[in-house]
Symmetry: C2
DNA sequence: GTAAAACCTCAAGTACCCTTGAAGTCAAAA
DNA sequence: TTTTGACTTCAAGGGTACTTGAGGTTTTAC
């Protein structure tokens, strides 16, 4: 497993118009490209969010398609979405093979629904806060912000606590 | 400190059961009204996010206006906004006196700007994800999701719609 | 007056999401 | 070949946001 015919790492399709699906990235390369620390990548791997092959010397080598997973994870992190939700969104995206167009399409749609829920919660609060600014909203009972069970908690049965 | 030699603070609603304007709430009442656990309230107090008076027996009594602070804190929590950001938003809202209309207006505006930033980040990601769904987005360089440094910082450039 | 419920402090524990450090191994450049 | 940097595992530590429990006190209700 020490055969390293590793070519220059290329993001774009080669001259034939095809990707090189066998191209592998080290943990450091993954880190540089995604901005996610190597320790975090190992942590994600322990959780099963990502996966890697190993060289004969036991070092990680990531297939290119793992970049996409890691990037989506880091986006989730920046938005405060817990890793468990990410795991859900990735449910049917294969770890061991390069996901197909359809795999990612389905995951993207799930992902987008997550974001939409979150955005709707924020928009509602913004609207209510605008009301508070306008009216002073010193009456506790009138302010939806202060009785939040009504609105975020009842947008469907899906995962709240976004 | 073994007897109730305290007279300065009235803890409960008067004998009429009406809400006096300067009515004070126990930690349990605050908890029931806000849905925030007593332990969390004590924690917020340790952080300086809220404040209380003490009875002669050293029990907490919260002025009514503290309900508003606690509720806003719990809203922030549900949206994944860290307490440090809440602290910033509360910067000029007095802890010791009932905040004025203007105090809350100013805080509401700051709060709303926070929410807006968050929402813009999410919206941008939603747009990009829509692109990914449509095109498959298998080209790494074309996908903004995969080069996230650009996007959250970019909403100053003005909104663009699809 | 007494008993139960609610409160107090302080320390430790939990859960998530990692980071840091120690001690050693692997891979690629000089 | 040697050296250097990147990598490995495992254990412990850190920040955030609390919860739980022990042991004791205060307040309320009867």
């Amino acid at each position: 497993m020490s055969q390293h015919d590793e070519m220059e790492i290329e993001a774009e399709p080669g001259p034939t118009g095809k990707h090189a699906p066998d191209e592998l990235l080290t943990v450091g390369e993954m880190s540089r490209r995604t901005g996610v620390a190597p320790s975090a990548l190992r942590f994600y791997e322990d959780l099963g969010l990502i996966a890697s092959h190993r060289t004969g010397g036991n070092q990680r080598r990531y297939p290119r398609h793992m970049l996409r997973r890691v990037s989506l994870i880091s986006v989730a992190k920046r938005l405060g979405i817990p890793l468990s939700d990410v795991q859900t969104a990735f449910e049917n995206v294969p770890l061991d093979t390069t996901p197909s167009h359809e795999d990612w399409q389905a995951a993207s749609r799930r992902w987008k629904r997550q974001l939409e829920l979150r955005r709707l919660g924020i928009e509602q609060l913004e609207r209510e806060l605008t009301g508070c600014i306008g009216c002073g909203c010193l009456s506790m009972k009138a302010c939806r912000l202060l009785n939040p069970d009504d609105e975020l908690g009842e947008h469907g049965a899906g995962p709240q606590r976004l």
